[in-house]
Amino acid sequence: MSLFSYIMRRVLISLLTVFVVVSITFFLMNLMPGDPFIGNKAVPKAIKDNLYAKYGLDKPLFERYLMYLGNLAKGDLGMSMTYKNQKVINVIKQAFPVSADLGIRSLIFGVIGGLLLGVIAALHHNGPWDTTATLLAIIGVSIPGFLIGTLVQYIFGFLFSNVIKDVFNTTYQLIPIARWEGFRYTLLPSFALGFSSLALTSRMMRTSMLDVLHQDYIKTAKSKGLTPLQVTWRHTIRNAILPVITVLGPMTAAIMTGTFVIEKIFAIPGLGKFFVQSVQMYDYTMILGLTLFFSTFLIFMNLVVDIAYGFIDPRIRLAKGKA
């Protein structure tokens, strides 16, 4: 089986998975007590009937399910029930690129930084570098994002930037407190969002490196007379990085589709808030649209990771082995 047919098979399985996920979400969502049009102010029954008719909620559940699938087949995700005149697809189209932009920046910071930190820590096992890296990792894992976000916002966006303003006698805001308008604006949220991935990646990389460093083939490589750099690069990192690659798929999917807390603190117009809001507000069409989008993206990222294995570790042959 060639790589092409492998990918084709995976795509077919993925489509089926997405279908099942959307179907389960559809029925679970409708099991929740309450509905989109129940609010603090009750509306007269006639008006509720009008609303139900407008959004097709007056029809039996299964008929609505079939209608939704029918519309989906035509590429129509419907109108949001909270942002009443916005198409769900337009919301995703506008918000996803922002979340993805922020996500990629924080992944670059988090993953590259984390790998470096992990490698250094492992190579200096029990030394001061190791302690520093471990400490950073513990901070990153245990301090929640909203705290780091608010903290860096206050320290750099407010205190530090105001010192700069005073020193240079200008009104130029060196590091903005919030919002999303250019490179300067990306610094704090990328750091705040990437910090936990940095912690996670460095911890995994360190553990995995230490494991590999004790293997016999490393001793062999050393006794062959390879330089420490060659040993580290060609034998240690290449073997140690595989577990990290595994988590990279879901991590990328989760970070690139937006995070509620960081986007809220930095007022970034990304996708994160819609995941939370749509469930709180019972915005049925938005819940389904985002579920569909997220699950597709997650499956795609996992596929990318599986293919990447083949390039990094020649022992893994996708085409012959199981997926």
């Binding site: 929740m32 509306v43 007269p44 006639a46 005149n85 916005q86 407190i177 919030a178």
Partner: protein
């Protein structure tokens, strides 16, 4: 306390006559909307962010002035028939939509019909029901052209079901605003979804709308009163996190900001004043009167009297909110030329433990109970809502010695339980729709969808009906008083507090009007030096 808070906290109303900014640099006001406006379609919108924005970009026949009354909007003048049921508005000449088309009387007729059309499914359509046949049209039993509005040249004529003292307040609501039929129909379902999919006739137009990020309003040069509009642009950011917006305010990136009780000290430390205003909302416990124990009014009163409202506002809310021992909020008009709460006192003493214990004993005797009853309350599951519920729980337990449990749940689940009457006690609130005591009273009539208590008093229903039909305003006020008193005697609800809010503004800002009914904050008169 009450005197400290003006009905309309008009801040430093400055020299309005000479505020036009000719030739100087463009003046931009930065505000925080807090979230993306969910729906800028005037006929279907329901939320406060959209209503605030719409008041700046779409104008109805009249608008609220800065002193609690009304001023001409698209209408130059209006007349009321002697029996108070026909209102004739004369449109001003030369008013235009932002696409250059004139604002016609037909636009008001179309707007009203669209809002009431069952196909539009407008949630707030019921606010228009005082207009003749509006309810029947909205329920689909009459065709839309039967609603009591007509265009006659440059006149719009509304016929009402009965005299309605607060009708201007209703005609000022977005649901009653005009619409340009050709434009709205051309946009279809996506009308009002983007800056260029909307038409404007108000003091501002929407120049730029970046969803969930910011919205930029630009002064509308075609607006009839443009010479008195001082700001060139208003930028509304959508910052959901209140700590972020406060940091931006301290950094002078925002000109106005809301101040939660917990942050008041920070503002005082930095030298900012934090004026208080009423947003008109009242919060209360609703008792399910279908519950065998809570069916007894004395038991309900026992719980109500046990609540320490002053302690609650001071220690739990930590802001300037006021203890509520009545249901009509402060600063609401009486409908007869005064403020209702100024002429009608509150009904019982706050935190009257002795009375509470007596009521409990009498109630138990009436019910033939020998053991103390236990109660459970549902509340929202946010941190703040949970701490509020816990405080009520503690107060009732301590005062009465009864078991009192709290069951926090998500917002929509709580609403569903309230609708299904599947609760004993619930912590809920209400904000006024129009400036009249009726907006707090008629919801407690038998079978009203907002009356989750199942309170059913033919005498109370009768008072509300009488007040609705009473044309003499002084007599009407007496009936409304009697209705509120009856509600407090029967106590299906235990009022807890009237919400007060604080805000701050930069020192070069003046003329921001805060209101408890209608668009808030109103930036029509705002000046930035």
């Amino acid at each position: 306390m009450a005197k400290k808070v003006a009905l309309f906290a008009v801040v430093l109303m400055a020299l309005l006559a000479s505020c036009s900014n000719v030739g100087g640099p463009a003046v931009n006001l930065n505000i925080n909307l807090g979230n993306e406006p969910p729906n800028l379609d005037q006929h279907t919108t329901t939320d406060t962010i959209s209503i605030q924005l719409l008041s700046l970009v779409v104008e109805g026949l009249v608008r609220y002035d800065d002193k609690g009354g009304y001023m001409p909007g698209m209408a130059e003048k209006w007349e009321v028939s002697p029996d108070g049921t026909v209102y004739t508005f004369t449109l001003r000449k030369g008013a235009q939509w932002s696409n250059g088309e004139p604002v016609k009387a037909e636009d008001f007729v179309y707007g009203l019909r669209r809002a009431l059309d069952p196909v539009t499914a407008s949630e707030y359509a019921y606010i228009l029901y005082p207009i003749k046949n509006a309810q029947a049209v909205n329920e689909g039993t009459l065709p839309v052209d039967q609603v009591g509005v007509a265009a006659d040249g440059n006149k719009v004529i509304y016929t009402l079901e009965r005299p309605t003292p607060y009708i201007l307040s209703i005609l000022n609501f977005p649901t009653a605003m005009p619409g340009n039929q050709a434009f709205i129909e051309a946009q279809g379902a996506e009308y009002a979804s983007e800056a260029d999919k909307h038409l404007y006739n108000g003091p501002y137009t929407i120049k730029e709308w970046l969803h969930s990020d910011k919205i930029v309003l630009a002064k509308n040069p075609k607006y009839w009163n443009a010479k008195n509009i001082a700001l060139d642009t208003i930028t509304g950011y959508m910052i959901a996190d209140s700590n972020t917006s406060i940091t931006m305010f301290f950094n002078k990136e925002l000109d106005l900001v809301g101040v939660p009780g917990t942050r008041l000290q920070d503002f005082t430390d930095k030298g900012y004043a934090t004026p208080t205003y009423s947003d008109g909302a009242v919060f209360y416990l609703e008792f399910n009167t279908l519950d065998p124990v809570l069916a007894n009014a004395k038991i309900r009163k026992a719980i109500s009297f046990a609540v320490d409202r002053a302690g609650f506002t001071r220690n739990v809310l930590m802001d300037q909110s006021q203890p509520a021992m009545s249901i009509v909020a402060p600063y609401i008009s009486s409908g007869a030329g005064s403020i209702f709460r100024d002429v009608v006192p509150q009904y019982f003493n706050d935190h009257d433990v002795a009375a509470a214990k007596a009521m409990l004993a009498e109630g138990m005797e009436e019910l033939g109970l020998t053991e103390l009853p236990s109660f459970s309350m549902i509340s929202d599951d946010g941190d703040r809502a949970k701490s509020m519920a816990a405080a009520i729980q503690d107060m009732v337990r301590t005062a009465l010695g009864v078991e009192f449990t709290v069951d926090p749940m998500p917002f929509k689940a709580r609403l569903q339980k309230m609708t299904d009457k599947d609760f004993q006690i619930v912590f809920a609130g209400w904000g006024p729709d129009y400036n009249d005591p009726m907006t707090f009273l008629d919801m407690w009539t038998t079978g009203n969808g907002n009356n989750h208590t199942s309170y059913a008093s033919p005498a109370f229903d009768d008072l509300i009906l009488k007040a609705t039909n009473e044309t003499d305003l002084a007599a009407r006020l007496e009936i409304l008083k009697a209705a509120e008193k009856m509600l407090m005697d029967d106590m299906p609800i235990a009022p807890v507090y009237f919400r007060m809010r604080n805000w701050a503004f930069q020192e070069n800002i003046s003329g921001v009007v805060r209101r408890n009914v209608g668009p808030d904050p109103d930036l029509y008169w705002t000046v930035k030096k």
